[in-house]
Point group: C2
Chain length 264, copies 2
């Protein structure tokens, strides 16, 4: 059992809070019984499980032990103090894991009928990204395409907000040039969303398969994105607000797509 | 100009981060050029404006000076260090305000045709609450009814997420007994949302006027709430997620209500 917070392995775990460290190692940190259990059950590529026996009281821990044995994943035991030194939760449950990030290569992506993809340009808020993943999963979407300077889906806030959807979706990173190239090769329809568009989203028949392209929180859809959209749609607003939260706008559109397909 | 962070007025401002202090004083703190300008333009009851001239560079400051003069609101000038001692923003813009909370009394609320109200049971996350207010405003909703142990709409995270919608909506606080009493007197239709309901939200014709009742993030709609709903609807999910974020679920339903009314 590791009892020193300056143990090298413990330092490595703490470092995973940094996006740079996550990028360099290809690893990420997740915490909590529910999410670790889900990762185990989904056979996610886990590097190690971290347990702090003195903190563990929650339900579900027996399933975690069973799965860990079945999958033969290395377990590191640490003291409560050590666990708290890297915990990202209030009231830590004493269960965490280090996992390998999984990225899908855009070039290998061949869209098929039924597919819904959401492309996000420079999404800044990891909470928004996680919430969008959760919603895309809920409507049976395939994944998210993160364009340019998007935040990291493996940030702990994003992981928490995704409620496990991160494990079920394909996650893709690309720059605009790669995205445009892929659109040409795959001939998929890209539909954008913007407050300044003329077409009401509720009057539009969304194509199938589809990539829904959303602009960033601060800037919205940019001119270079408009150009690659087959259509740009608008969500009407009649109050005093002139915009919606990005995760909300995405949800309103993907549920419209979902509703159109299931009532065909 | 106040230059000491232990000045009593500055201490009072810092204390407004506490929900208890806000409840006792009936005041709240808002920060940033955009939101303060909006509060001024909406004639919100401001107690004072706080300016840190050395931090102010942003656009919109001239409008703020004009509005402050027009409305004869007391201005307190503070040093940059003092401002940073109570700032809730990264990169503070040097503009803040203390305002009087505004609550609508449920007993005085008489719903009329066209009204959309959202009642939230024990909403815990101020970011969710702010985002819900922003969305309710966007569809032209009238306000939010906060039931029982709901978080404070005047929390700075809620204010930020509401993007000014807080100023346009009626905000009501009530316990369940008061809410039930009001339902009887006003004979308004209450429609709930739950994963376990049978009625698909997209197949349901929402009544007008309406109160949409949402359960809490952790617990969802409770049995005592089911009882007072005319109908409980479900948002279908086909992925692996078994629930949506509360603000997302609320948005999906209120946009359905909005779409049904505008396409009537």
């Amino acid at each position: 059992m590791i009892t020193s917070t300056s143990n090298p392995q413990v330092k490595m775990i703490r470092k995973l809070k940094d996006k740079k460290e996550r990028q360099q190692t290809g690893l990420y940190y997740m915490e909590g019984i529910r999410i670790v259990l889900e990762a185990l059950q989904m056979d996610m590529p886990l590097k190690e499980i971290i347990l702090a026996p003195e903190l563990i009281t929650g339900q579900g821990i027996h399933e975690i032990y069973q799965e860990v044995q079945r999958l033969e994943i290395p377990v590191t035991e640490v003291s409560g103090d050590v666990f708290r030194s890297f915990s990202v939760k209030e009231g830590p449950q004493g269960v965490a894991a280090i996992a390998h990030q999984q990225w899908t290569d855009l070039k290998e992506l061949i869209p098929v009928t039924g597919d819904v993809w959401v492309a996000l340009d420079s999404v800044a808020d990891p909470g928004n990204l996680g919430t969008i993943m959760r919603t895309v999963d809920a409507i049976g979407g395939k994944g998210v395409i993160l364009l340019d300077q998007s935040t990291d889906p493996y940030d702990s806030t994003s992981i928490r907000a995704s409620m496990g959807a991160l494990f079920h979706l394909q996650i893709i990173k690309a720059n605009l040039a790669e995205f445009v190239q892929w659109k040409l090769v795959s001939s998929i329809s890209i539909i954008g969303t913007s407050d300044s568009a003329e077409m009401d989203y509720h009057d539009f028949r969304f194509p199938d398969p589809i990539v829904l392209l959303m602009g960033s929180e601060r800037m919205g859809l940019q001119p270079q994105h408009y150009k690659i959209c087959e259509q740009v749609v608008r969500i009407p607003m009649v109050g005093r607000s002139d915009s919606l939260n990005l995760a909300i706008a995405t949800a309103v559109i993907v549920y419209e797509i979902f509703n159109q397909r299931r009532t065909k």
